[in-house]
């Protein structure tokens, strides 16, 4: 079995509203896969179907080879879940709750190791009600990791974090990959997907619009842009688009040299994932 997750033709409606409209993707073992999309795109719906919380409407899904809708215990033992929003007991300490959740799994990770992994060292004996929002989110991650799962779902793990906390969380997620875990991450932050994901699917209105590695997505989306300042002196830019920047650059520079102009502000750019994301998710 090669793939951790396989999804094909997945659809899901709430009443008459179709939140997921036929999506396909696979997540390979050991990779970080990003589902990137704006609010309401259908990310949580998709992930919760894979986690076994919701029945799918149509299509086929397999998670570690299991049908998540059956919620087999063998699957739940190998999957860790960080939900988009959930609470936790208020009157227990970080260590107590991690020990408790760890005891539900056949081969839990050491609690101290998990606490270190998520950066809650020093908060072991703090009760949950005294933790800040960011610390609670780290506890969410710790609770998802304590069973030592091979597949981890992270639904918007850093939403609401300040930049420092976000970077710390990114480091934790990178270390999961180093541990050989498979991660399915949803986010509406482009930079997060770019930083963390090996492959990204951009989802909007329940459909996957484009999928690939962050660099592939940038490249596949369009031609190179070559720009320089026009020499009429009013500061406007001349922009060329081409699939063969080498040839065009050669031609432009040859002409410039011949005519003695300078191609001020010359740049060669390629659309980044950001350009794709903004273009594709912009409301027409």
């Amino acid at each position: 079995m090669e793939n951790a997750i396989e999804v094909s033709g997945l659809r899901k409606s709430y009443g008459d509203y179709e939140a997921v409209r036929g999506i396909d993707f696979t997540v390979r073992r050991g990779e970080v896969f990003g589902l990137l999309g704006p609010n309401g795109a259908g990310k949580t719906t998709t992930v919760e179907i894979l986690e076994g919380y919701r029945a799918r409407g149509e299509g086929d899904v397999a998670v570690l080879g299991f049908d998540p809708e059956q919620r087999p215990r063998a699957m739940r033992e190998r999957v860790g879940i960080v939900l988009q929003s959930t609470g936790i007991y208020r009157h227990v300490t970080v260590r107590e709750v991690l020990e408790h959740f760890g005891s539900l799994y056949p081969a839990p990770r050491a609690v101290d190791e998990v606490i270190g992994l998520v950066g809650l060292t020093g908060k072991e004996d703090q009760r949950a009600r005294r933790l800040s929002g960011g610390q609670l989110r780290r506890l969410d991650l710790a609770l998802a990791l304590v069973g030592d799962p091979e597949l981890i779902f992270l639904d918007e793990p850093t939403t609401g974090f300040d930049p420092a906390a976000r970077h710390a969380a990114w480091d934790t997620i990178r270390s999961l990959k180093a541990l050989g875990k498979t991660v399915l991450l949803t986010t509406h932050y482009l930079d997060e997907a770019q930083e963390l994901a090996d492959r990204v699917a951009i989802i909007k209105d329940g459909r996957i619009i484009v999928e690939g590695s962050p660099t592939e997505l940038g490249a596949a989306s369009g031609p190179y842009r070559i720009a320089y300042r026009a020499d009429n002196g009013d500061g406007t830019f001349v922009v060329h688009e081409t699939d063969d920047p080498t040839a065009l650059l050669h031609e432009l520079t040859e002409r410039a040299l011949a005519s003695g102009t300078r191609l001020e502000g010359l740049s060669v750019t390629r659309p980044t994932l950001e350009d794709v994301y903004l273009e594709l998710t912009a409301d027409a």
């Binding site: 986690e51 076994g52 919380y53 215990r73 739940r76 033992e77 999957v79 879940i81 939900l83 929003s85 959930t86 609470g87 936790i88 007991y89 208020r90 009157h91 227990v92 107590e96 408790h100 959740f101 005891s103 539900l104 799994y105 056949p106 081969a107 009760r127 609770l143 069973g147």
Partner: protein, 251 residues
């Protein structure tokens, strides 16, 4: 690499519930003080009348069965659901039965503590002797606990959000304890109130507790009443399982 056993999971959940219970002092305080407060108040009012005290003590014991199971579980389940804790638990390997088992056992522990407090207070302060029929006491507490625990979980499904829990629970709890003869001898109530009470489980639980604690009438004396409690219990458990939802409804 062994799968944790079901019994082990129930036990660990139970222990966690107990720890959390004692760490929330206001909840623990009200839980144990309320029946004592009622006992003290009514005991003071009726202090001269042993006949009335003989009604009040098993009545308060019956009320304790309801408040530690029905009321507590309706609150707890609504809170856990709204906080997303049920949803989180559902994502772990713990079977729902183990989780609910741990919570229910914790509720039953409170029932036993409260009925114990009422029994001891009855002996020490209110002239009610030690229970005459321990077997009957155990049976009625056990059947009452299962019945009201099931009904409490089932009722939590009808509560739309945590803020309205108190209103919903009291709308059932207060009329129930009044019609069921917690504070007076239900045999002396008007006919129509008695008919309503007889159709509900609490009056029969109190009747059984009274038989066990005061009258020594034996288990057989109210078999039809025990049947009513069992029927309500079966309905409660069925509804509890059937309507179970791990997340709050969207509105």
């Amino acid at each position: 690499m062994r799968e944790p056993s079901l019994a082990g999971m129930i036990w660990r959940q139970y222990r966690l519930e107990r720890r959390m219970f004692w760490r929330n002092p206001s909840a623990a305080f009200f839980n144990f003080l309320l029946p004592l407060l009622f006992l003290a108040l009514f005991g003071a009012v009726f202090s001269a009348h042993q006949k009335d005290l003989n009604v009040i003590v098993p009545g308060i014991a019956g009320m304790s069965v309801v408040s530690t199971t029905f009321t507590a579980l309706a609150y707890n389940m609504t809170f856990l659901r709204e906080q997303g804790i049920l949803k989180r638990i559902r994502g772990t390997p713990m079977p729902s039965g183990a989780y609910l088992g741990g919570i229910a056992l914790s509720a039953v522990t409170n029932t036993i503590i409260q009925v114990g407090i009422v029994t001891v207070a009855g002996k020490l302060f209110f002239g009610v002797d030690w229970p005459r029929d321990w077997g009957e006491l155990v049976v009625y507490v056990a059947v009452g606990v299962v019945c009201f625990a099931g009904l409490g979980v089932a009722f939590s499904h009808a509560i739309p959000n945590f803020e309205s829990t108190a209103a919903y629970v009291n709308a059932v709890f207060l009329p129930l304890i009044f019609v069921s003869g917690v504070f007076y001898d239900s045999a002396k109530a008007p006919r129509f109130l008695r008919d309503i009470a007889e159709a509900l489980p609490l009056v029969h639980v109190i009747d059984g507790l009274s038989g066990a604690m005061v009258k020594g009438t034996g288990l057989g004396h109210n078999a039809p009443g025990l049947g009513v409690v069992v029927l309500w219990g079966a309905a409660g458990l069925w509804l509890a399982a059937r309507g179970f939802s791990w997340e709050s409804r969207r509105n």
